[in-house]
Amino acid sequence: MSGTLGSAALLVTGAALLSAAAALLATRSALTSLTVLLDMLLAASLLRLVLDPTPVQLAGTALVVVVKRLASAGLRRAAASRTRASS
């Protein structure tokens, strides 16, 4: 079962990269693309957490969540300050 889960997680990781690339091409928005990538990577990490996760796997998933929140907040602030500066 762990082999199946590993393959599923790998498949979702590939889907994450493709989705992020598609989002970037369609919207030209780094924030949209990054949030799409991190959401899909979180799904892959959660799949890896099934069946007796190791502390490293747990820390990896927690790291994805932290990076997701920090990157989203940082990019939103940067966009807001750019808008303020241009107006």
Partner: protein, 131 residues
């Protein structure tokens, strides 16, 4: 009673239930990710330059992930029924705590995104501009 239901039988039954619940959680997460992937591609092809379409898909994916995490938490709770040593219970507690924290932050993020999406729908000029 101990003759009717042996400890070994109880352990195997709980182990089976844990595997079933964990598998259900994995299926929910995997199906959610696949649906989101298809919807992301659809949004990219048919609704270009409309970032809010991606936010809606992400909200759907977030709900699937939260549900999958709930299943994983349920399996952690089931495991405590047959965790014999203090060390094993401690490890389970650590895993459950991290999963609960993940679920909490996921729920918070879903709420924030919902509010943002609602604000964009009512007044498109009020949304935070994207880079």
């Amino acid at each position: 009673m101990t003759e009717l239901v042996s400890e070994d039988f109880l352990k195997s039954a709980v182990e089976l239930l844990v595997r079933l619940v964990e598998s259900a959680g994995a299926v929910v997460i995997f199906v959610g990710a696949l649906i989101a992937f298809v919807r992301f591609l659809d949004a990219a092809v048919r609704h270009r330059h409309e970032p809010h379409r991606f936010v809606a898909v992400r909200l759907g994916l977030g709900r699937y992930l939260a549900l999958g995490l709930e299943f994983q938490l349920a399996s952690d709770v089931l495991r405590t029924a047959v965790a014999p040593t203090l060390r094993e219970i401690g490890e389970l507690a650590a895993v459950a705590a991290i999963r609960t924290a993940l679920n909490y932050f996921l729920g918070k993020e879903i709420k924030e995104e919902q509010e943002q999406l609602a604000a964009e729908r009512t007044d498109p000029s009020s949304s935070t501009p994207r880079p």
